[in-house]
């Protein structure tokens, strides 16, 4: 009858922690793979429009980013709600685009890429076209003709 003797409580085996490193590594790897390093902090709203006839920008492409849109909520007190341009991590005026473009080419990408560099316009979908026309005019004047309207993948009726 001793077979059914109640085991004494308080003798629970310790939980093995042998797999803890595995879990930690797993998390580490996970975050390592999904993290994309964002170059700039967005100060403007970045709700990009949708499009489905798109071409992807390669990692090897030389890309210069220009952001535009309404200032984000926390900057609205200071900068208002009119759409603005953001270069690097500062609000900027249209007239600063040329300098920014050449600076990026010379300091970050390399001068030899001047003719192949693509200017990616990351513009919020509620922005007025007037601002974009101004940006395009600036880019035309410095012969930065390759541009990319960055979009999200999706049907256009969501715009």
């Amino acid at each position: 009858m001793s077979k059914f003797k109640k085991k004494k409580s308080g003798e629970l085996p310790p939980v093995s922690t042998a797999a803890l490193p595995d879990i930690v590594f797993m998390l580490l790897f996970f975050f390592m793979t999904v993290t994309t390093f964002k170059k700039d902090d967005y100060k403007v709203k970045q709700e990009l429009p949708y499009a489905d006839q798109v071409q992807t920008l390669d990692k090897t492409d030389k890309v210069i980013y220009i952001y535009a849109g309404k200032p984000s909520l926390r900057y609205q007190k200071e900068f208002g709600t009119q759409a603005k341009i953001q270069l690097n991590d500062k609000f900027a005026d249209v007239s600063e685009i040329k300098d920014y473009w050449f600076n990026t080419i010379n300091n970050d990408l390399g001068q030899e890429y001047q003719n192949v560099a693509i200017t990616a316009l990351k513009v919020d979908k509620e922005t007025n076209m007037g601002l974009i026309a101004d940006i395009k005019q600036q880019l035309r004047e410095i012969n930065a003709l390759k541009i990319n309207y960055t979009t999200r993948k999706g049907a256009v009726d969501q715009n």
Binding site: P13, M26, Q55, T127, L145, I147, N148, T150, N159
Partner: protein
């Protein structure tokens, strides 16, 4: 019988579970890649040069007003019909190109009052300064869609492959150089048949 210690929980398969999860996340995570509509801006015209005059029938005008309504060839149109209309215009082939060759691959209606040749056909998008960017992108997307449709059709005829598929293979960095140059050559042929001519004219107020 004496008291027995409960054996320790076997943790040997914990690693397997961890790897399973790791692989699960690896497979399900989508990597954010920047993608969008590529465009080439027109260079600044040299001073003193007047732009060439384009025949009205070779010009497909899309006007977008500040309320984001579309006026296509002087008629109000819904965004959903734009692609069809653009395809009909580009594919019309009513006349000849500069060299006097007729468009023998066009399958359009060959109307007198529509474009002569895909080579001559120009789509002009004009928008108000207050047009929303989202609408502008929708319009551009539909127009690129029209070109892609026609290019895919010809690419299927010639190479049994979609133009858009060729493009995505050619822009993939893992593709071998030889395949890339081969595809680029084929794409040039297709581009020659339907050159992308979309003008984003200066905004009208």
């Amino acid at each position: 019988m004496g008291r027995r210690n409960i054996p320790e929980v076997n943790a040997g398969s914990m690693a397997d579970i961890a790897f399973l999860l790791l692989i699960f996340f690896l497979v399900t995570t989508t990597f954010e890649v920047d993608s969008g509509i590529n465009r080439k801006l027109p260079p600044m015209p040299p001073p003193g040069v007047t732009p060439p005059i384009i025949k009205q029938k070779n010009l497909f005008t899309v006007l977008v007003n500040k309320n984001n309504d579309l006026l296509v060839e002087e008629e109000v149109m819904a965004l959903g019909d734009l692609r069809e209309a653009a395809i009909a215009f580009l594919d019309n082939g009513g006349g000849t190109n500069e060299k006097g060759e007729p468009c023998n691959y066009c399958k359009g209606d060959r109307k007198e009052d529509s474009s002569d040749h895909p080579n001559k056909a120009i789509i002009s998008v004009r928008n108000d300064r207050e047009t929303e960017y989202g609408t502008f992108i929708s319009v551009q997307n539909e127009l690129v869609g029209a070109y892609n449709f026609l290019r895919n059709r010809e690419a299927q005829n010639l190479y049994k492959m979609n133009y858009t598929a060729m493009d995505s293979i050619a822009s993939n960095p893992q593709t071998s150089e030889q395949l890339k140059s081969d595809l680029k050559e084929k794409m040039e042929v297709i581009k020659e048949m339907f050159p992308l001519k979309i003008s984003e004219a200066e905004t009208s107020n």
